[in-house]
């Protein structure tokens, strides 16, 4: 599979939050199979989709992500029995919230990619990149980057001290 070397005016930033056991391994398989896909995606590895806090997604958008992918084991295949079920429920609610806030839900994709599905990983990443490229940059959250604290980062000495004192 060779991608035409086209020049795009806009290269979206895509963050992928994935679990180690299925999707990360699936992405590894895409690599060992030498499949090709757009280079826009940055992968963050978690033990399980159950570990993925919605705050990370907000943080990613705030940090300039134009699209976010969350991907883990297929329902029923979770390495940790049921982590992906918890994730699914959590994100079902979270999507509603994002929608309410006014985020175009096309920027946030959930998928199941198993360790054997290198091809599916390529498909999911390629599709999301193309979709987001057509949507243009995501600007809404960037202003929020001003207000750091609520994201959970404790980065002033005063806050740190207060936090440790609890």
């Amino acid at each position: 599979m060779h991608l035409a070397q086209q020049q795009h005016t806009f290269e979206p930033k895509i963050f992928a939050f994935v679990c180690t056991w299925c999707t990360y391994a699936g992405a590894d398989l895409a690599g060992t199979s030498r499949m090709q896909y757009p280079s826009n995606v940055r992968v963050l590895k978690f033990p399980c989709t159950g570990r993925i806090d919605p705050v990370f997604i907000l943080k990613a958008f705030q940090q300039g992500a134009d699209g976010v992918l969350v991907s883990g084991c297929h329902p029923g295949d979770c390495h940790y029995i049921a982590g992906n079920f918890h994730a699914r429920r959590r994100f079902a609610v979270f999507r509603k919230l994002l929608e309410f806030v006014g985020v175009d839900l096309n920027r946030l994709q959930f998928s199941w990619v198993s360790a054997a599905e290198g091809g599916k990983w390529v498909e999911v990443v390629t599709d999301l990149t193309e979709k987001v490229r057509n949507m243009g940059p995501m600007t809404e959250f960037k202003e929020l980057a001003m207000e750091e604290q609520w994201s959970g980062a404790i980065n002033t000495p005063e806050l740190k001290e207060a936090y440790n004192a609890i």
């Binding site: 070397q5 590894d28 090709q36 896909y37 280079s39 992968v43 963050l44 990613a60 390495h79």
Partner: protein
């Protein structure tokens, strides 16, 4: 201030071909906190690791990032090296710039930028890494083996002979699996029963093997070294302790016409039965669906004739919990459903071949039962329809296998060989008979295998026709087989008396459900996946679980036995230590902030969260907080994402680390 060392690997040319590694090393060298950065041809090689260790000491590095292949490949290698240099292993991270970058992109500029960002992200992450102490857990030196085919039997015997207890669980009333059904085995044509039954008896008599037949795995909890397995022992209706195996009950049972699955339904059995005479254990079981007593309430003859009074109609399923430290999965295979499309399966059947409609179109395993001296015909090759000896027989290979359009693209590996075997057995048993084989090509790699196949043609008169069958239909008492001989380029038509289909090897039905209970992965066909296709072929990615036999992919007996012994060796390695080191990726509760809502406890699938009382010096209860048992925690982190007060943290994946990564991009 951290002094981070960054090492960029070329991986020969695997990375450096598309990623400008020198530029990456230069650029990340400028990041705050990075004290040293370099690139090197092979980081994982001995000199590469020496470079890493030497630099840590010379440069007094506080953290390390190795940018190379996937951490699934070499994280352990580098963490070990870092530890040898005196740093805590968890202060080392890998940046995956091979599988996730150089191998999947072709544009050097794009790949280099991406690699730099990936490394930068890991640099920010590693700054927040904490020293983690290794956690040790005790090892229960008993093993569970699931499946009592030749794979499970071999693994169980090897482990038990090494002096460790084995719990062997078999779903059917007897152990033996498919090998017990075979007549004679390639490539030596020794009788399967003769080499199999002694091993089955060894299992039954071994003081270290606890055998549960007619049983299934209900639930698996725990982790490597410490599994708790719940086994469901189905009601046999016969008390195993008192039954002497005399068999009187079976001779008196009035239900005599029940198709015996072991004989591929061409032989008959009674309602109280053992599947075959050499069954282990030889305790019968009552098939409640077909038993008159269970259907109508009347009969009960078996109970009346049983001397020791072993028949027990009231017996119920029971659940037994067994603690084990390791698990060998050896659940074997099933044969492809030829005629119908299984429900919900993407696999299509071969309705056009008339299996199930034309009585004399049978599968390979049925032929094994016909050829078996202990089979329903006493080893005579007779047609199921009228009991006549077939004078012309047609074998068709690759039914289902290598047929992408039917849903299976793999080769079943054993059919070429067993079809050659079948033509020989036929030639020995039916004098003046003629065997034809339709085949795509013959795959006979294996010691003495090609010689065996040639013998079938050169000495045993089998006629091999290269090509597929397009159609077959019944004409009087003959089956007309139409196909093409692509070697000669002509159409062939054979009037056969019997047709044998070499059907594809598939995983057991429900293999996926068992995998889900065990938490192991499987491929799109439901064959279980090994941790590494080449270097870890008998281990699952899930620690403490090993694979043996055809459940992992089509295999013949020699391969199955080798893998079973290899799995047993892995189990013995695990049992050679009293304590096991485990990754310290576990959750920890910040007790000061915990409000005791126990949301974490509700979501923890492992029951790792306990309630802990906090008391003051006078012993007054102040509050109850959550406590994570580090021995039980599996490290999924679901609790952390759930905790409303952000008071439980997964070591190695803290919010700080994740946020640092996001902010780096």
């Amino acid at each position: 201030m951290s002094r981070i060392g960054v090492f960029i690997c070329h991986c020969g040319e695997n990375i450096s071909r598309t990623v400008d590694v020198e530029r990456v090393a230069r650029d990340v060298g400028r990041l705050p906190g990075v004290a040293f950065s370099t690139d090197y041809k092979y980081m994982c090689s001995d000199p590469g690791q020496t470079l890493l260790k030497k630099t840590i000491q010379e440069q007094k590095l506080s953290h390390v990032v190795v940018a190379a292949c996937s951490p699934r490949m070499h994280e352990k290698t580098f963490r070990k090296a870092v530890e040898a240099a005196g740093l805590n292993p968890f202060l080392c991270e890998m940046a995956n710039i091979r599988e996730h970058c150089s191998w999947v992109h072709e544009n050097i500029e794009e790949a280099t930028i991406k690699a730099t960002e990936i490394v930068g992200m890991m640099v920010e992450r590693v700054k927040k890494n904490r020293v983690l102490p290794t956690i040790t857990v005790p090892v229960t030196k008993r093993s569970l083996v699931i499946g009592g085919g030749i794979a499970g039997i071999q693994a169980a015997l090897d482990i038990a002979d090494a002096g460790h207890e084995v719990v062997l669980v078999e779903r059917e009333p007897s152990i033996g699996g498919h090998m017990a059904q075979l007549s004679e085995t390639f490539p030596t044509l020794d009788c399967s029963q003769c080499i199999m039954t002694p091993k089955m008896v060894d299992v039954a008599n071994h003081p270290k093997i606890k055998l549960y037949t007619y049983s299934e795995i209900e639930l698996v909890e725990g982790y490597i070294g410490n599994f708790q397995v719940t086994i469901k022992k189905k009601a046999r209706s016969v008390n195993e302790d008192t039954c002497t195996g005399c068999g009187v009950c079976m001779t008196k049972c009035p239900q005599k016409k029940i198709p015996n699955k072991f004989d591929q339904n061409i032989g008959m059995r009674t309602a109280i039965y053992i599947p075959f005479p050499q069954a282990v254990p030889n305790t019968p079981v009552i098939d409640r669906e077909n038993c008159t007593k269970f259907k109508t309430g009347k009969c009960g003859v078996c109970q009346k004739v049983c001397g020791p009074g072993a028949v027990d109609f009231e017996q119920e399923d029971s659940l037994i919990v067994e603690p084990v430290g390791a698990i060998v999965v050896a659940t074997g295979f099933d044969l492809y459903t030829i005629d119908e499309k299984p429900k919900g399966s993407p696999i299509k059947g071969y309705g056009e071949f008339g299996h199930g409609k034309i009585a004399d179109v049978i599968d390979g395993m049925t032929f094994e039962r016909l050829a078996s001296a202990s089979g329903p015909t006493g080893g005579k090759i007779l047609r199921p329809s009228d009991g006549k000896e077939p004078k012309q027989i047609v074998f068709i290979q690759c039914i289902g296998s290598r047929a992408r359009e039917k849903g299976i693209s793999y080769c079943s590996k054993v059919c070429c060989m067993y079809t050659a075997k079948h033509t020989m057995l036929y030639h020995h048993k039916v004098h003046g008979g003629q065997a034809y084989v339709f085949f795509m090509d013959a795959r006979t790699p294996g010691k003495s295998y090609d010689e065996f196949w040639r013998r079938a043609i050169e000495e045993e008169d089998a006629v091999y026709i290269r090509g597929m069958v397009s159609r077959l239909y019944q004409k009087g008492d003959k089956i007309v087989v139409m196909g093409s001989d692509i070697a000669v380029g002509v159409q062939v038509e054979i009037e056969a008396d019997m047709v044998v289909l070499a059907t594809a090897i598939q995983p057991q039905k429900g293999a996926d459900l068992l995998a889900q209970k065990l938490g192991i992965s499987y491929d799109k066909y439901n064959f279980y996946s090994e941790a590494h296709a080449k270097l870890r072929p008998v281990e699952c990615a899930t620690a403490g679980i090993y694979l043996a036999g055809a459940c992992q992919g089509p295999k013949d007996i020699p391969e199955t036995v080798s893998q079973a012994s290899a799995a047993a060796a892995k189990v013995m390695t695990l049992f050679s230590k009293d304590q096991l080191e485990r990754e310290p990726i576990v959750a920890r509760v910040r007790e000061a902030g915990c409000v005791g809502c126990f949301a974490c406890k509700k979501v923890c699938a492992y029951g790792a969260v306990e309630e802990k009382e906090i008391r003051d010096r006078q012993g007054n209860l102040i509050k109850v907080v959550a406590y994570v048992n580090p021995g039980v925690c599996a490290g999924c982190g679901t609790c952390q994402a759930t905790c409303p007060s952000k008071c439980v943290e997964l070591d190695g994946y803290t919010d700080e680390q994740v946020i640092a990564m996001i902010e780096a991009l």
